[in-house]
Point group: C2
Chain length 683, copies 2
């Protein structure tokens, strides 16, 4: 067993290729095969298998169109990544890569369908075998992740992998109601899902701000509710086919009875308010709600559900059910009278009644209903799947009650949390850990949720990737795979791979900086960008008044949710403060701080030239100040100079001021510099 | 009239955003509106028109689907460029941008159709008017090119433009026979053509190495001749529609009687050789040729031309006709006998006979034939359009003979020449200048030709753009628009715009460097890349044995054909050698040379780790040596130190050695450093 060739591949931690920071990064020992998700079982051997122009792939066993298409896509992807033109066909029995598919997959991909595969690579050949096409597709992705450039050319290591997922439901939810996402955005994200072995696209297709599917039954839904931005049924079928080819189910969500303003513009008779309704431009929990008391509502929904359950072949159908504020119900005397007549004590009871009715409609169309936490009531049928946005306690309660559940709390990738936060959230962690084995079996997995108030087709990839790969690993790999350092190292590799596969999470940044600055080479902005992040959680919405019409073209929209360089600097600062840093690490920290400090002088004269950068004038200045404090602290520490309590307090005050978001951005140097300042104050 | 806001927009010369070179570039005075092509008439006023979320566009005059689609694409492009979501519809009479179309365009876009437009921008409104949709489309592109970020937001300057082209035929030829280019590549290049007001896509659809169109008449053409890489007829129709929507004609080329190996694989009976034929893997002028002596050849071609002339609606139809080596004809006794019987004295006479027969077939299908220089014979009908690859003399001769002509000699963008070379070639320069007015009127324009031996879908954009924009200006703007400095300054701006519009000429480089190095942040390679270029002309093919199977994944494939930084360094060196440089220019030259010199030490240890970079070991070393010589020369010059003749000769010898291509790349520092070394030797 050798690790030698991985070192020669020189994979560096992921740093935007355009950063003007000192060249070397953390020296990293490549201590694994850098796969994400990590496989269930892996044994590495000696040597490697070389990939050159003679590389061919042959299929044996069960003949399947999905496997044949998978083979072609695999060769195309490998060709794009390596720049080698591979032959599409090969002489029988001569191929270097043999794929054996034992049998067919389900006509409609089924929850819990076998996804296992076995991949055996020797120096002379590759064998991939699986029970059905799903395993083959996963195995091909594992192979692609193993490809590296070596002194002998492109190669994969000698390795034996037996792999299967821990959870059967590994999803990504994309909200296209709030910001519409054109088909290419959906498709490239399906490619990213395939690469990380996610198997459910949860398509959040309607919300207050938009209804995004063509309905032939009720065409005013899209005509009045989408501002022209909706998918035709042919496009929907195309996406479902595209997903199926990649081993991914498509579960649609039509959120009801609330988050439904967009429905009510065309069909005000479904609403609980007086109407007329307009497409809202503001975000948040709005009042619009369907009227659960009229039979005509259910007649409408039954027809609509009939149409949509026919369009979407998956066995599961998500009806939302979250966040009703009940204001329209409270204000409507007829609804109040209905509630009294039926002894409903509150809005929750009314919603429960609605959910029960809708569940019967969904079941009538032979689908299994899913909904957010709110749909769970004591009498909810046991087959309804609960989607937990509220958290582990709600999740565990549902599982105890006998319902199957999915976790999304902790996987809200719209909230700009670090990958490590999401990574350490386990569907069977927290209250889930105390479930019985039978109850645990009801926990199907989880979904990363990409709510879209503050993303556009341009930057959505950077909010989803690479962090969602960490969630994908959580849902695929063993529960005890939780080493954060290893995760970040491998995330850098998979992030690079995902760009090869067509995602734009890294490549979208520089064009956005160019737009802001009007400069072809926006280097100063790039340096600034490495030190700042959008605020975590919902803080951003409090810092600026966002509507559906807000241009999302500022620095906060261009920078990734997690700065890899700032993360690495924090690690360095921690080592230095703890007295554990090497001289190289000291030097690196100093070099980076100097670069951040000196950037302001170069950048400052340019910022006023553009409306989009003028707001960065104080931020850039403040960043330079913080970096300067960091440099002072390093110097004090190096020279064992004791800083007076007074001077230290003054510096900490400065840092406290700099910690406040500016231009809706958080300076990520403040916390590590504070560490250094506090350490330098210690005699 | 004010230039103030242009300075504030801080447009820098185009430098790959990822270069690690010193931050500032040449200080450039923005002395024009930076449009490319430059309009026929332009008057600038005071102030600017601001573009914000309230910006709307209204149509008046003749109702036309192409204009409406053009409006929608315009808003989408402007939205992508600015990040502002614009409303798709506006209240009548309230729009800030009013477009007036006087009348319809031709059902099939016609050569010479009116393309003029008038664009008037005031501080409060924009008016665009044109005789037909073509002018509107051009005017919208002019507006987009004017958009800049300013302290008040995105804006265009107050300006009045009256514009029309100098030549009616402004083309880009893309060869998809040698390397197939998928539809998205064609489409994004059509977007680039629209942006630069080119109006003909000349689609070179067949060559020895591939036949790229589905024929229903003769399906073995694509089945045996394309290795699976061909366009369906539906895709062809889609591209024609896509082009028409952008004011672009599509002229197909089926090259015959030579360059036809791919036809003969499926239909050997068309060939002059004994057969069987295989798809060739080598490049160059091959022997395969159709048999001009059999009537069955013309029967086949008549049916084929019937099918293809119906598929392609344009009035012109290109039948190639270039580069017959005649070897198959010479070796075939039956053909020799035919030639003797018909008193044909050489192969040219035989080809002339073939061309004449094909011309009648093309005319029989109501199309006007075009062909390369070789098709012109004394009896060639006057309506045949001659496409000159041989040069101005051939072009002028054709025009004198009474045929209409196009120039491509001088516009071979596959040959890695600088933009300035192409820019200064005029269809009415050279022998063309001596033509009479009537003869000059026969010169229709020209075409940039993208032959595809050494390009792939990944890097073709970088061979076409931005240099083709300079050719587009040559063909659109007045003959006396030929200031090279101005051209390069404006080319930098249009290059950035083209990336906004979806071209990948700049963005493709870094992923290719990542692939080569396995590094996420291939900075050392980027620095190296700025100093080297592919060899000009056909030298590259002599340096390496290329076939259709060669991976094009080396540094020579990743770097642009013209290094903007090396060009700027050459200008600096010229100023310094002439004693005309400012202290800042001295400093800049020194900084750049240091960066190039010091790069080797950092890069060298990594190069051996990848098969794709190992060949760069000597090149990187030699580059450092050359940069070091440059630094020495600068130092000598600065200190007025006279260098001995002997030392100077030694240095010039070193430079001579470094001038030889290494890893199929030319070190572009050698020439400017030689200038410095020679200057430093002068007492």
């Amino acid at each position: 067993m050798t690790q030698r060739w991985f070192r020669s591949a020189l994979i560096l931690p992921f740093v935007c290729a355009t950063l003007l920071l000192p060249p070397a990064s953390f020296a990293q020992e490549q201590s694994s095969l850098d796969l994400m998700p990590q496989p269930a079982h892996l044994t590495q051997g000696e040597g490697r298998f070389l990939i050159d122009g003679s590389f061919t792939v042959e299929l044996s066993g069960y003949k399947d169109a999905r496997v044949e298409q998978g083979r072609q896509r695999f060769l195309a992807t490998l060709g794009r990544e390596t720049g080698i033109p591979f032959a599409a066909v090969s002489a029988a029995g001569k191929a270097s890569f043999l794929i054996t598919t034992a049998g067919p997959g389900e006509a409609v991909q089924r929850l819990g369908e076998d996804e296992s595969y076995r991949l055996v690579i020797t120096t002379s050949k590759v064998e991939l075998s699986a029970a059905n096409p799903l395993g083959v597709l996963h195995g091909l992705q594992t192979f692609l992740q193993l490809v590296r450039i070596t002194p002998q050319g492109f190669a994969v290591p000698v390795v034996s992998i037996d792999d299967q997922p821990r959870f059967p439901w590994r999803g990504l939810m994309i909200d296209v109601g709030r910001h519409f996402m054109p088909i290419p955005v959906i498709e490239r994200n399906l490619d990213g899902m395939e690469a990380t072995k996610l198997n459910v696209l949860h398509w959040h297709l309607s919300d207050d701000q938009g209804f995004r599917v063509e309905s032939k039954q009720a065409p005013l839904l899209q005509e009045k509710g989408s501002a022209g931005n909706y998918y035709t049924q042919a496009q929907i079928r195309g996406v479902i086919e595209y997903a199926r080819a990649r081993g991914i189910r498509v579960v649609p969500e039509f959120d009801m009875p609330c988050h439904t303003s967009s429905w009510l513009v065309g069909y005000p008779q479904l609403g609980s308010g007086p109407g007329p309704y307009e497409l809202p431009t503001k975000w948040g929990v709005l009042d619009a709600a369907m009227d659960p008391t009229r039979e005509t509502t259910y007649e409408f929904l039954d027809k609509f559900l009939g149409e949509m359950t026919a369009l979407f072949p998956d066995a599961y159908f998500h009806v939302g059910g979250d966040e009703c504020d009940g204001k329209e119900w409270d204000a409507n005397p007829r609804i109040q009278a209905f509630m009294k007549a039926h002894s409903m004590k509150d809005d929750a009871a009314l919603q429960s009644y609605f959910s029960g009715r809708v569940q019967k409609l969904v079941a009538g169309h032979h689908k299994i209903m899913m909904g957010w936490d709110e749909v769970l009531q004591p009498d909810t049928p046991r087959d309804v799947v609960i989607h937990s946005w509220r958290g582990p306690t709600a999740l565990a309660a549902a599982a105890r009650q006998g319902n199957r559940v999915l976790l999304s709390n902790g996987y809200y990738i719209d909230l700009n949390q670090p990958a490590s936060d999401h990574y350490l959230v386990d569907p069977l962690g927290g209250d889930g850990a105390s479930l019985s084995a039978e109850e645990k079996a009801r926990v199907l997995g989880g979904e990363a949720t990409m709510w879209s108030e503050l993303v556009t087709p341009e930057n959505i990839d950077s909010r989803i990737w690479p962090r969602t790969a960490a969630i994908a690993e959580r849902l695929w790999s063993a529960q005890d795979v939780r080493d954060v350092d290893s995760m970040y190292r491998r995330l850098a590799v998979v992030s690079q791979k995902l760009e090869h596969y067509g995602l734009e999470h890294n490549s979208s940044t520089v064009p956005m900086l160019r737009r802001m600055s009007g400069e072809l080479d926006p280097r100063g902005l790039e340096v600034l960008a490495t030190a700042v992040q959008p605020p975590e959680g919902y803080e951003r919405e409090g810092l600026h008044d966002y509507t559906t019409l807000s241009p999302l073209n500022r620095l906060v929209d261009a920078v990734p949710p997690e700065s890899e360089l700032a993360r690495q600097f924090s690690l360095l600062a921690g080592l230095i403060a703890a007295g554990k840093a090497t001289p190289e690490e000291w030097q690196k920290a100093q070099d980076w701080l100097q670069r951040w400090r000196d950037n302001d002088a170069k950048l400052q004269p340019r910022l006023a030239g553009s409306q989009l950068t003028a707001e960065l004038i104080p931020l850039s200045h403040s960043l330079a100040q913080v970096a300067d404090l960091g440099l002072q602290a390093l110097d004090d520490l190096k020279n064992h100079r004791t800083v007076s309590a007074e001077a230290r307090e003054k510096n900490l005050e400065l840092l406290k001021a700099a910690a406040k978001p500016q231009a809706v951005l958080v300076d990520k140097l403040v916390a590590p510099v504070e560490l250094l300042v506090r350490a330098s104050g210690t005699p």
